[in-house]
Amino acid sequence: MKNFLIRLVWRIFSGILMVLVIASLTFFLIRLMPGDPVSAQYNQLIMQGMTPVQAENQVKVMYGFIPDEPVGEQFVNYIWGLLHFDFGQSISYEGIGVSHIILNAAPWTLILVFTGLIASFLVGVLAGVISAIKRSSPTGTILTVSGSLLHGVPQFVMGLLLAYLFTTLWPILPFGAPYDSSINPGFNGPFISSLISHAVLPVVTYALSSYGGWLLTMKSSVITVLGDDFILASEIRGLKSSTIIGYIARNAILPLFTLFTLSIGFMFGGSVFIENIFDYPGLGNLLLKSIDTRDYPLMSGAFLLITIAVIAANIITDFLYTFVDPRIRR
């Protein structure tokens, strides 16, 4: 137990260190940028008739550091702000804190990707078990081929094809926007149904493009377990095949469990293409828009959140695994 706690503290410490390294990376990236956006912003504010002191304060609020200060001092101020969850202020959404904008965008991404992730995981794992057990029959071959093909198609190609098929060729689903703008947002029937019908295509795109990966991993994992001695032993004992499949599934799912929890971390940044194609107001779209409008505080904030999620998921996965797989605990 003591070892466990030491390991936990160490992992969290190195995770925080990693976040700080990435924060400094984006910090220096903005400083390296051609035209130095920070001074440009400062000069623009002066041009708008602000006094140098006002302009300096404004820039400080936006970026979390002052342009005239030495870089070292700016850096310390920026990191100090981050440690207090102060990501600075957005430029394109004037006067609104970056963390506020990001927290508004995150649920869109999370709902979209989480639904897709769960759907693809369940279907993919089931198909993987079937394709492994029936690997010499046509069913198994068809499943495996479907997995490799869908795994090979890039997400944006899948999204564009689905969007074309179901919004233009056979227009049964709406295209673009997270909900119908003519409907009042609120907890009412029409709004929720419009929300769902707009989410179908993005979710299906995500699910289809990750289905292949789950299928192929589960298949190879099941095939490895099938060669284990205990499977042979249970066959010799004459156990029911449903019981044996239960044993196989329990052992084969372990490596996928790790992948699944890791995918939860990658959720935040995993739908850039889908959000872009279907014009969904999530984090990926926010990242792209912030680059488009040269809103660098927003950009670094969004990127930081995407990375922090992955780092946190890594740490959590590491520790959950010890609970899921008793063999690791020794």
């Binding site: 990693m18 564009l160 850039v272 194609i277 990242l287 992955v310």
Partner: protein, 305 residues
């Protein structure tokens, strides 16, 4: 297994070294063994030729025909035309060079960084291993596509080499980790210990003794990372975060979806579908060919017929 074939190969297996010619002969044999592999190989050759000679087939400014904007598919325009009346086929052919060259360079950088760092980490265990693996973990953790998007603000992706370098930098982590774990097990094997006992230099042991044993893994990875790189770079151009310097498939996709409105106007559809078709065809080719590469580099899989 005493088939005539193996008997013959055993007979000719005198100290003769495994020279270049016999490797290519074996490679050719593993390609021609299955129809699917031949198809895959043909598709890859077709695209490679397109990338090498494509830009020479057309003048540097593709002809514009204002009478044939969004022309339907015809003999003159086998894939239709774009918003200026330029043939889509010409756009695909001339655009292949940037896409394929950047992808090939990206895969090459991935493999070089991954292999060298993995070999060093796995062979010289100790502090160099822990430092390299910390850095690898760091690169594996950062979500690579958002990182590429962020880097596009400072990095000039105009040249394929610049694109390839960044693609390589963001994707070598998995490769390094896999090569390290293979090296860790290989370094305990007899032949490596023998080489160490003979006093051969670490450089020789790493690159002449251990490297050939991980080459099958490297060969497979080279091909899969080419597809990964193609998706990433075409994706970057599609999203429009990278300035459009040259014509390529991603630029076509971006223009088709966001400027030409190909989603709602059926006229512009060939403009959207032609880069998608090129991407899918190339993916299919690589997937079919992968199987042959596995066999080429992995002698254990080579069934002598």
């Amino acid at each position: 297994m005493t088939t005539p074939g193996t008997a013959k190969s055993v007979h000719t297996f005198t100290p003769k070294s495994y020279n270049g010619a016999s490797f290519w002969k074996a490679a050719w044999r593993s390609i021609t063994r299955k129809t699917s592999r031949i198809i895959g190989f043909a598709i890859i050759v077709l695209f490679t030729l397109m990338a090498i000679f494509g830009p020479y087939l057309y003048s540097s400014h593709l002809p514009i025909n204002t009478n044939a904007i969004y022309a339907p598919i015809s003999w003159k325009y086998p894939l239709g035309t774009d918003f200026e009346g330029t043939s889509n086929l010409a756009l695909i052919i001339t655009g292949a060079r940037y896409v394929l060259l950047a992808a090939a360079l990206g895969a090459l950088f991935t493999v070089i960084f991954g292999t060298v760092l993995g070999l060093i980490a796995g062979y010289f265990v100790g502090w160099s291993d822990s430092i390299i693996m910390r850095i690898t973990d760091f690169f594996l953790t950062i979500p690579s596509f958002p990182l590429l998007v962020v880097l596009s603000t400072v990095w000039n992706f105009g040249h394929p080499l610049a694109m390839g370098f960044i693609l390589g930098i963001t994707s070598w982590g998995g490769m390094a980790r896999a090569v390290r774990s293979q090296t860790l097990s290989l370094r305990e094997r007899g032949f490596v210990e023998a080489a160490r006992g003979l006093g051969l230099s670490p450089f020789h042991i790493l690159f002449r003794e251990i490297l050939p044993n991980v080459s099958s893994y490297i060969g497979m990875n080279l091909l899969t990372s080419i597809t990964g790189c193609i998706y990433a770079e075409v994706g970057l151009f599609f999203l429009g975060v990278v300035p459009f310097h040259v014509n390529n498939w991603g630029v076509m996709l971006n223009m088709a979806v966001f400027s030409a409105g190909a989603m709602s106007s059926p006229d512009a559809l060939p403009y959207l579908l032609s880069p998608l078709l090129a991407l899918l065809l190339l993916t299919l080719g690589i997937v079919l060919f992968l199987d042959a590469v596995d066999e080429m580099f992995n002698p254990r899989l080579r069934e002598d017929v």
